[in-house]
């Protein structure tokens, strides 16, 4: 009985796997974000929007900001990674993407334990987060 309770107190294998990947993603994302922000603010990489001009843009709404700065939305930042400001998006994307990885990783564990309903829900979550990340869900401007 005592042993059974001790077992119940422990996190399930899929929960531990999820935690491990989440931790890895969080630390790598934050570390990369801090390094790239250093490259940006220390002037090691030239920014697309000069530092002394940045304050002109953040009071615009997003539509005006993109138009005035000549920036495309969606995944266009991938083509602008040579700029100090856009390189920061690598860390941000890792932080925003790690949850998808966690969900995808626990699917086999859930299927092995014949937890089909939860495996389906995990797959659905990956699809939903993937759809959000894809940029296909377009939204109107102001």
């Amino acid at each position: 009985m005592e042993e059974k309770t001790q077992d119940l107190l422990k996190a399930t294998p899929e929960q531990l796997l999820y935690a491990k990947i989440l931790e890895w993603g969080m630390y790598s994302g934050l570390l990369i974000l801090l390094i790239t922000f250093g490259l940006y603010t220390l002037g090691i990489l030239d920014p697309y929007i000069p530092l002394d001009k940045i304050s002109r843009y953040w009071s615009y709404n997003v539509h005006e900001y993109l138009e005035h700065a000549g920036i495309k939305n969606g995944w266009a930042w991938l083509g602008m990674l040579k700029y100090g400001d856009f390189i920061n998006f690598i860390g941000i994307a890792i932080l925003a993407g790690v949850t998808m990885l966690c969900y995808a990783a626990i699917v086999p564990t859930l299927l092995r334990s014949k937890d089909t309903v939860y495996a389906i829900m995990a797959v659905l979550e990956v699809i939903i987060l993937g759809a959000a990340a894809s940029g296909l869900l377009a939204v109107g401007g102001h």
């Binding site: 801090l34 922000f37 220390l42 002037g43 953040w58 925003a96 959000a132």
Partner: protein
């Protein structure tokens, strides 16, 4: 060991900020910017200090950083609400990502409880983000102000139940096997928990998801009462699962804001670092702080920010 790790992390981040402040690029751009009012680093630096204080208050007041961030920064800083919401979501997301692994490993956050709830909340957060970005700014600002004032009322009136009485699990939660066991560290008691009213709880997460996405707020203020008071999960499980849940809900909405272009690194990084450092300090101050006073202070600040958001939206 863990405390030393955090101290080292704080020192490294402090040194990093110092390096930024004394860098030649910083001085050069500052001189150019000085001619046109504030230097470029003025607002990011103020943002860092304000979010640092926010991080302390969030821990002491028992609220998430996101719920303080959006109304305060949108009310008192020159940043447009679009960028504040994008940054607010990333702030709440990072707080949840930092806490999530530990809570899952300790089995305080329940993945079994979170998965069905997150599926609904994250889908609705996407819808909320799309609505929020399509609506005129003043309408969002008015709705934000009203929501923040509602949160204040909720904080003042909502009770908490350490271990709610759940006579019987409902059919849905039984089928999904949403239950668990945890040990209360203060008493050593083993608590067997289950939930009820699951369909109603899940329905409320539709609303919570939409609001989280629409305003860029973390939704801990709504998650905890629903999980604890309505569904009957123990308070510790509710708080931990809610915090972990934000890492999923906010991820979906954050991608919408990110893809729309509402993320400016110069706002995101100082805010993240500020909130995280503030949270470390807040945890240390927890031992000596007076929680009731801090809670009243947080509610007052929120109410003020809510009124400010309302008046800004109404054009006063």
């Amino acid at each position: 060991m863990q405390v030393n790790g955090k101290l080292w992390a704080m020192m490294l981040i402090g040194l990093f900020l110092l390096a930024v402040l004394v860098s030649p690029a910083f001085a050069e751009s500052s001189a150019e910017g000085a001619a046109s009012g504030h230097t470029w680093w003025f607002w990011p630096l103020v943002l860092f200090f304000v979010t640092f204080i926010m991080g302390i208050l969030a821990v002491l007041g028992g609220v998430g950083g996101g719920v303080l961030f959006v109304p305060i920064i949108s009310g008192f800083f020159p940043f447009h609400l679009d960028f504040v919401r994008g940054t607010g979501l990333l702030v709440a997301l990072c707080g949840a990502l930092a806490a999530g692994p530990g809570l899952l490993k300790m089995n305080l956050a329940s993945l079994r409880l979170a998965i069905p709830v997150a599926l609904i909340a994250s889908t609705c957060a996407i819808i909320g983000a799309m609505i929020g970005l399509a609506l005129p700014t003043n309408i969002v600002q008015i709705a934000l102000g009203a929501t923040i004032i509602g949160i204040c009322v909720l904080m003042l009136t909502a009770k908490k139940s350490t271990v709610p009485d759940v006579p019987q699990a409902d059919r849905l939660s039984s089928a999904l096997r949403i239950c668990g066991v945890y040990q209360e560290a203060s008493t050593g008691e083993i608590i067997d928990w289950k939930v009820h009213r699951t369909p109603l709880g899940l329905a409320l997460f539709v609303l919570i998801g939409i609001m989280a996405g629409m305003f860029g707020l973390g939704a801990g203020w709504a998650n905890v009462p629903v999980l604890n008071l309505l569904m009957g999960a123990p308070l510790k499980i509710s708080v931990a699962t809610s915090k972990f849940l934000l890492s999923i809900t906010d991820t979906s909405a954050a991608w919408i804001y990110l893809n729309k272009g509402c993320v400016i690194p110069m706002m995101v990084v100082p805010s993240l670092v500020g909130i995280m450092l503030g949270s470390f300090v807040g945890v240390r101050l927890l031992k000596i702080a007076k929680p009731t006073f801090i809670r009243w202070m947080v509610i007052s600040i929120l109410a003020f920010a809510g009124i400010k958001a309302l008046s800004k939206g109404l054009g006063f």
